[in-house]
Symmetry: C2
Subunit: 248 residues, 2 copies
């Protein structure tokens, strides 16, 4: 499959990601998904005033696990992998951040994971100290961040079940169903295509498998006519099969 740059920006009305005169948060296409949805117009304007705009190109690193977290981010477009690495090079991807996701929920100075741009990425950037002060003043924003955190926690528990107890086939099926759900939410409507902007190695590191196993299982599914591999992702043929085998 081809992953090299073939991922086109799905947000054309995005504004949060463009803090240039004329653009503003009111037209941000992912606001409904983001922490910002907790804010009223005045608060949004205030927050917009302290927002910066970040662009990261494919394969670049937003931050490393050992870095101090000076900024927090609201992803507006693109995909980011969140990585925990072991000293000997083993990696576990703990999640993929999609548009609407927030990086920096933890109120700590240090990141606990690395963030690497899988595609070109745009994000609203806030100075951590400023954002923290603001959320300290706005209980409903703090509450919204807490909701985000507990939602993440629930996803993390799903992920633990997947890593600890599913077979390779179940892991792949669950991953594909999850990606389908997440893209549908981001894009606001269902696409036949399930976008897989990340490479096979990233999928393997997310699922606790090797790249060879990921490749074998997906290609076997194609041979069994459960799905077709297409540029930039896959397409379900036998959706019922996936509903059956995906867990969580």
């Amino acid at each position: 499959m081809d992953n090299s740059g073939g991922f086109t920006e799905p947000h054309r009305h995005g504004a949060c990601g463009h803090h240039v005169p004329g653009d503003d948060c009111r037209f941000c296409s992912i606001r409904r998904l983001s922490v910002c949805s907790a804010l009223d117009q005045d608060e949004l304007s205030f927050l917009e005033g302290m927002a910066g705009d970040s662009v990261f190109e494919e394969k670049s690193t937003l931050f490393r696990e050992e870095d101090e977290s000076i900024s927090v981010y609201n992803v507006t477009s693109g995909v980011i992998r969140l990585v925990r690495s072991l000293p000997d090079g083993r990696r576990q991807i703990t999640g993929f951040a999609l548009p609407g996701d927030f990086l920096g929920l933890a109120l700590q100075k240090q990141w606990k994971f690395s963030a690497e741009a899988v595609t070109d990425v745009k994000a609203c950037r806030f100075k951590r100290s400023t954002f923290d002060d603001f959320s300290e003043q706005k209980p409903h924003l703090m509450k919204r961040m807490h909701e985000f955190a507990t939602h993440e926690l629930s996803l993390a528990q799903d992920h633990m079940v997947l890593l600890g107890r599913l077979t390779a086939e179940e892991k792949i099926a669950s991953f594909l169903v999850l990606m389908k759900r997440r893209w549908t939410r981001v894009e606001g409507h269902e696409l036949g295509l399930i976008r897989l902007p990340m490479g096979r190695q990233d999928i393997a590191d997310y699922l606790g498998l090797t790249i060879e196993t990921v490749s074998r299982v997906i290609n076997q599914m194609q041979r069994d006519r459960k799905l077709v591999i297409v540029p930039d992702g896959i397409r379900f043929i036998d959706a019922a099969y996936f509903e059956q085998h995906a867990i969580a």
Copy 2:
């Protein structure tokens, strides 16, 4: 090893768990560890007024994943396993709750996991709606709960690395080091003994292994003189070995 009931209650000054006249939160031995440490004297008194006292005996179920979460809990003594189950009986234990831990961080009506008492358990119980209203009024309590949630999230990420990328030996070593750290924190001082009130099956379900593998690895470590198995837990002989092999 014997796990049947051999776990003695470590908190003798506990008060949060005993809302009878004369006892109160001021003497709660795990308050420093709990969400309550965010509260001042007045708030503590108010919260105490709305607290109930729960006792669960060994092997009993606090709640199931499908249950509505009517109450939230502050564990004051004992150990609870947090379980996600699959339809076919496979289980993943996502964590063990120890004294000071809070159950009910999520602001949702439904639990996403079951909680089962590994030992006899005592907990402060609060009506969810009342507790939520209170935390809505008290930004520093909300903030404290958010800190708890993001800390849990970080632990969950450690757990994902363990499940996805560690060998059986590394999983066991990491688990034992984690339990040592957690008990030391709860008890306020280091014990030679690392308490393992949970059975081998629970350890296996926490680590994504089978009971046979857990038993084999621990017994091999004993044969290799890395540790000794004692009633209610284990004792490190070669602490350096564990520092070496434990990850996260």
